[in-house]
Amino acid sequence: MKTTAVMAMLLLVLLAASLLALAHGEVWLNPLATGEERWRDTVLWEIRLPRVMLAILVGGVLGLSGAALQGLLRNPLADPSIVGVSACAALGAVIVLYSGLASLAWFSLPLGGMLGAGLSVVLVYLLAGSRSSVFSLILAGMAVNAFVGALIALVLNVASNPFAMSEIVYWLLGSFANRSLQDVMIAGPFMLAGSLAVLTAGRYLDALSLGEETATTLGFDPQRWRWIVVGGVAASVGAAVSVSGNIGFVGLVVPHLLRPLVGHEPRRLLWVSALGGAILLVLADMLVQAISGRVELKLGVITALIGGPFFLYIIMRTRSSEW
């Protein structure tokens, strides 16, 4: 299928899913009709809209980052969590929560997430070296992940009271509940800017399919382009994690589902993965709300429950077939 046709189709699906998500809730509301009651507007545009917007933005960022990192690392199992970005962003946000800085200013939580993500990039580069091969980048990401995981555990371990601890844990699980337009406004620009940077790297990722040396001799400065991709992923995922918590596996699953439609060229996968990720999270968030009882299920829990087995499935397929 032509990539443009797939994109048009995905856009339509995203539009439909978003309208459905706006309409769906405790009470069904028609987002296209103008209503008279004030509560109706409040529910639609101040409660549901930010949630849907965040689902679109975060889903788009995660889908795009997954596709970009898979292209960069030339590995269909890559995901933002692999280079340590997600974990570091989570650590940044957890520190802000734990230290009480979160109550200091409304922007401190997103800022913490982005600082964490930025730190992960610096760490990975210090570990892997600036002229690193992709392999050492993966190893550095693993090391960062392990260490940051330990730091998060440490923060939880020394948390002053059970309440702070449960708040941190709940937040780590990942959710779009109770987010406001302000969250969208703070994190949105970083998600968009980072994503734009990643989207410019499509041709470099295509060239990389013949290896780093060939890509370099085709006219790409490998250091600069690696920075653009990893930096873009860090900014966008850092901002995303800081508003939504950890929502895993989207970046892994989405490109995999879309390859049969657009082929394996990394550049073609970027835009469609962004759209696919957005659709997936809008629908998943709706599902979470629909099946939740008194205790709302966290979106990150659902994506992990579905994504974990899917991850195993891909590994088994990868071992037996074309890769």
Partner: protein
């Protein structure tokens, strides 16, 4: 037109191990030069330095008089193509898409494949006898088929100079000759070809000039016969080399 790729006084070390010492080499338009020497002589390292993939510890590489690092990446990519040894293909892309990657230096990112690009791709596929592979998936090809497809990618760039690292290593006899013919044709069309080879017979038959390296140093260079008969070359390979002229060319026997 950029007339020459040259390297002067190249020195290179991996950590503390000297790999190249004071090597100078020039590649002009219209010539096919064979880079020969025993394993570990530094041939691949020299080729990577010429391609701009490694920066030399000493000496300078220049393209048409301008130092290689001063050239814009895109400009360099259009003039100088490099075929690594056993290059990977990481995704199951169609052969046509792989060859199209060779056109990247010729178009900006927003430009679709133009007619000239398509023509270059077709020509490259024809030159490497890879036309019938066009629709195949590159990861399912045999080693020799893939080698030809990757060579087609190099030709699709329509570069001035081609640096090829053992392009015939995994090919059957027919395709060895065919690939060497194609590289030679590129030189005859006023391009420059520098090719790393292990088969001295092919080197003798197809190259205008041979450059021999041993343990990081230039051993000898010149017309094939002269180089092959040089006792220094035999010493470098630790074998006896006999060159006989028979029929249409030189034949090399070593024992």
């Amino acid at each position: 037109m950029v007339s020459e790729l040259r390297a002067d006084g190249i020195g290179f070390r991996y950590r503390d191990v000297p790999v190249l010492r004071d090597v100078s080499i020039a590649l002009g338009r219209g010539e096919t030069v064979g880079l020969i020497g025993p394993n570990g002589a530094g041939k691949t390292t020299l080729l990577k330095i010429l391609a701009g993939l490694l920066s030399p510890g000493a000496g300078e590489v220049s393209l048409g008089g301008a130092p290689l690092p001063d050239l814009h990446e895109n400009q360099r990519a259009r003039l100088l193509a490099y075929l690594p040894q056993g290059a990977p293909a990481h995704w199951p892309l169609s052969v046509e898409r792989v060859v199209e990657l060779g056109r990247i230096p010729h178009r900006a990112w927003w430009q679709p494949l133009a007619e000239a690009d398509q023509a270059a791709v077709d020509k490259a596929l024809a030159a490497t006898d890879a036309e019938r592979l066009r629709g195949r998936i590159v990861t399912t090809l045999s080693g020799g088929e893939r080698a030809r497809v990757l060579l087609a990618r190099v030709f699709a760039t329509e570069p001035g100079f081609i640096l090829a690292d053992e392009p015939v290593a995994s090919l059957d006899p027919f395709h060895q000759l065919q690939v060497m013919d194609t590289l030679r044709a590129h030189a005859c069309a006023n391009g420059g070809v520098l090719v790393v080879m292990h088969d001295l017979n092919l080197a003798a038959r197809y190259c205008d000039r041979l450059v021999a390296l041993d343990r990081g140093q230039l051993v000898c260079e010149g017309p094939p016969r002269e180089v092959l008969e040089d006792p220094a070359l035999a010493a470098a390979y630790s074998v006896r080399i006999d060159v006989v002229e028979e029929g249409d060319g030189l034949w090399v026997r070593y024992r």
